[in-house]
Subunit: 318 residues, 2 copies
Amino acid sequence: MRTMPQGVAKSTMLAVVGDSASGKTTLTRGLARVLGEEQVTHVPSDDYHRYDRAQRKVMAITPLNPSANYLDILERDLETLATQRAVLKPTYRHTDGTLGPPEYLQPGPYTVVDGLLCLQTEGLRRLFDCAVYLDPPEEIRRSWKLLRDTTRRGYTTDEVLNEMDRRDRDSARWVRPQRAFSDIVITFRPGARPEDKNLDAEILLRPTLPHPDLTGLAGEGASDLTITSLPHGEQLLSVPGTLPAGRAQAIEEAIWDRLHFARHLQLDRLGQFTRGVELFRSDALAITQLLVLYQLVTARATRALDVAGAPLRGPERS
Amino acid sequence: MRTMPQGVAKSTMLAVVGDSASGKTTLTRGLARVLGEEQVTHVPSDDYHRYDRAQRKVMAITPLNPSANYLDILERDLETLATQRAVLKPTYRHTDGTLGPPEYLQPGPYTVVDGLLCLQTEGLRRLFDCAVYLDPPEEIRRSWKLLRDTTRRGYTTDEVLNEMDRRDRDSARWVRPQRAFSDIVITFRPGARPEDKNLDAEILLRPTLPHPDLTGLAGEGASDLTITSLPHGEQLLSVPGTLPAGRAQAIEEAIWDRLHFARHLQLDRLGQFTRGVELFRSDALAITQLLVLYQLVTARATRALDVAGAPLRGPERS
């Protein structure tokens, strides 16, 4: 087991939920890079599929159906990782849709769980320090899914399109309702004008967690950060893809200021994403990731204080 | 989950430990038949092998080495089954020595765990209501192993013989010391005369559990049950393979008398075993199985009393 900061006995748990190809991996990969790959235990909940691709075809069931997943085992394994003990995680091979031998997974200070149904049950929901729902417009998600599944998961275009139609009902029934149980809802969408090549980010912050107050940083106009107060204490942050680089940097700095005790994490590795095999960077993605990172680091620091009953010391001073 | 007798929340746990081909399956199969296959959750601890056969060959490690097994996960899974929750058990395919996808295992009133290392750790040992060690003479075990591994596990004779030599040191180091942690030690050995075709059973009963008192049933001579008191409260029962059928029946009856509340289990299905593909019956095996069954049924009944705080009622009267 890895060395843990003294007094911190529990792994900090993040759920990233959304339909297939909604951008879960893009979001979490950047977080793992910043926190340190060796600090993060990654649990793709797709690994808990009960049936392989061939069985699902025969049964006419999609992996979005909770009964097609071992959600009870997922919950147990996450409880185990949360208390810093190893698990033997099942595996699902996306490349050919078969179930493989399980993998031994070491616990880590951070546990990042992404998948279709991570917030499906009350038992799962109570495990997470922060829950994120990815909510791209359906036409964007479909184009992402088509690209990925035909290039990396061995499906033909026809198969992906047919599968998406079959999944639609199950997504409405099982995946989308989980939006209600998330602390942060993220939507990436194309800019208003055809020439805007970077996606806009809309970030809904729910009062279920304390978020950094960025109202002093809001600007005006279509190319700046805007913050809208919504009923029930919700805030909507709009980060346009056309945000000037200097403004993006100022916003990121402001969030880092509020994470002063975790300043050693600040490296320029947020905001990266791939499209096909090309690597890009997006300020809107970086700011989105930083708002999630804020929750993880804060939850961990708060728990360290609770457990240790002493003022927090950053790793560089301990 | 299966319906449980009211107030009984915990599965009754049996460990059957012994070297490869020491007769573990022969012992447990009869118990499962008597208790009812659907009442027994069977966990072969070989399924928790960390490496497949090819990996072990490269690493020059035998499966008898604790580090070649996920004993931490085995312990966790048994704790989970003990409290009547399902697990996703890994699988090891003896036919070709590969690791397979995991299997979903429902909890049951009885959990029977057999394998090489079930009593290896303190954490494992404290889980069991009864622990049995199988201790056949080495030359008998080798002949059993040779027969089984060449007929059912895809090894050549040469491979089995080489493997056994390699295993010997590990067996002495890791498997045999577990004898000390068992409540019952069972040795099947050939009779004294070449014409005795049935094996004798020697059953060492340790005072770590209350065993049925059979001293009144002991006879005299080489063809009857003899009971020897040993130091430290241990008793050695010798059941010769030449025991007359009438005597065997009287002894079995006497044990069943002490299990009067479980009389509904009494069926003539104990004592069966296979050699190659042939089916045989042995009174010595039946009596041995009955002494183990006694522990399981008694542990369960005692716990039912503890939990329910009410007089025990047999299932036929509840």
